[in-house]
Symmetry: D2
């Protein structure tokens, strides 16, 4: 496993629509948050996902895991950390940690496949790999 | 305004993910329900929306209105009625009523434009109009 | 109708999860955005909704209307304006306008009822009315 | 690990609101589907979750994992299998498999904690355990 230096911090404020009848954020709401963090991470790395899609490269999610450590509530402001964990072949693994007042409330990961528009696995774009490994050279 | 004979009834069970911290269904949850009802209505009319999209015709929403009369809760079973209200040029208006135990809990409408894949307004497909007006001939 | 001076501007970036198979933001996604704008508006007015709920006052939505003028896409940055439109008895009407690059992409309104925790309509809290009418004195 | 005999089958039709700009169901949409399957499973076992909540027992999700094997699209009809995997102390693990035309499209699990209304872990209700272990006696 490579240890990548990138770590992107995104601020997320819990929306009312993201809560459920337990008066806490519904567990499915965290996946769009992870996605927001991932979007920010890739933008910061210098190859925005929107641009990647325009270049014909998709990054569908093939696995997600989330661990819910503490409940979060409407209007809570969370600090989401997103960071690359591993890249092998056409696979990319990204990790996430969420904090409220410096206390971990959730963590997780997603695994993605680089594919073309038809869903066929492809090698990651050279431009993406350069951004990913840039600080390791 | 034409009065169309079609009326489609769909059963909706409220999902936990659709509730919010007030312990009732969140007001945004009703729009996907209306969409489910609309999908059922158009399928029953004999020209499924999926087929319409394959034929290059889209029906984006250009207006939505919803009135929330009574709260609904997790696991409630609702009866959704969907029915055409009006068709003029490239516009289609559909109405909705939701009932729980025969009591109205919400109502609303959506207005749609028939467009091509580029979003340009087009005449409704002849096949759709035949289905819409079939019982009036 | 009173004309209130408050107008709150919120920046919204379209999430991937908020898009649909037409490759634009799904029409239901706008309602949580309006809610984010409303939350910001009420916070700016000086009586955050979270605090209001803690005081036993709820503001459920009893009507929503949205008009979709232009499609918006993943990663678009939108400027959402939220502003009070009318207050009569236990009712509050709030308006919304969304812009992308200064061009209107959507507008709408919500109507709310002030209620207690049991859902019974109540007079708006004096503290809220003071904030609402403060600049008119 | 106990092997439980229960297996609940739920039919899920993909909603348009559940798709994303890749024209497939968004990965976060599967979590509410798992939840629908879980609700059906627990209802079939004879102790509906709504009733459990009324009895003061909650089952928040503390871990979720999902593996996306094949894309699913708008209006696809999926067969969701939900089944208990393990119960130890206050923990309950439930598994899920989704099929389209008998072909696996996704699988996953959730882990839950039995808690009281204040979020404190508690022993599973005797009534629930009787239902869970009933066919093993």
């Amino acid at each position: 496993m490579n240890v990548f230096p990138q770590r992107c911090v995104t601020s997320i404020r819990v929306r009312y629509a993201e809560t459920d009848a337990m008066a806490v954020a519904h567990h499915a709401s965290y996946l769009p948050w992870f996605e927001v963090g991932r979007t920010d991470l890739i933008r910061e790395m210098g190859y925005p996902y929107k641009e990647m899609e325009n270049d014909g490269v998709l990054l569908p999610v093939i696995e997600v895991q989330a661990n819910y450590v503490r409940s979060v509530r409407y209007d809570d402001v969370l600090e989401l950390h997103s960071f690359p964990l591993e890249q092998t072949g056409s696979r990319l693994k990204i990790g996430y940690e969420m904090y409220r007042d410096k206390i971990l409330v959730a963590k997780g990961h997603t695994i993605h496949a680089f594919t073309d528009k038809q869903g066929k696995p492809i090698r990651p774009p050279k431009k993406f790999l350069e951004k990913l490994y840039r600080l390791k050279k």
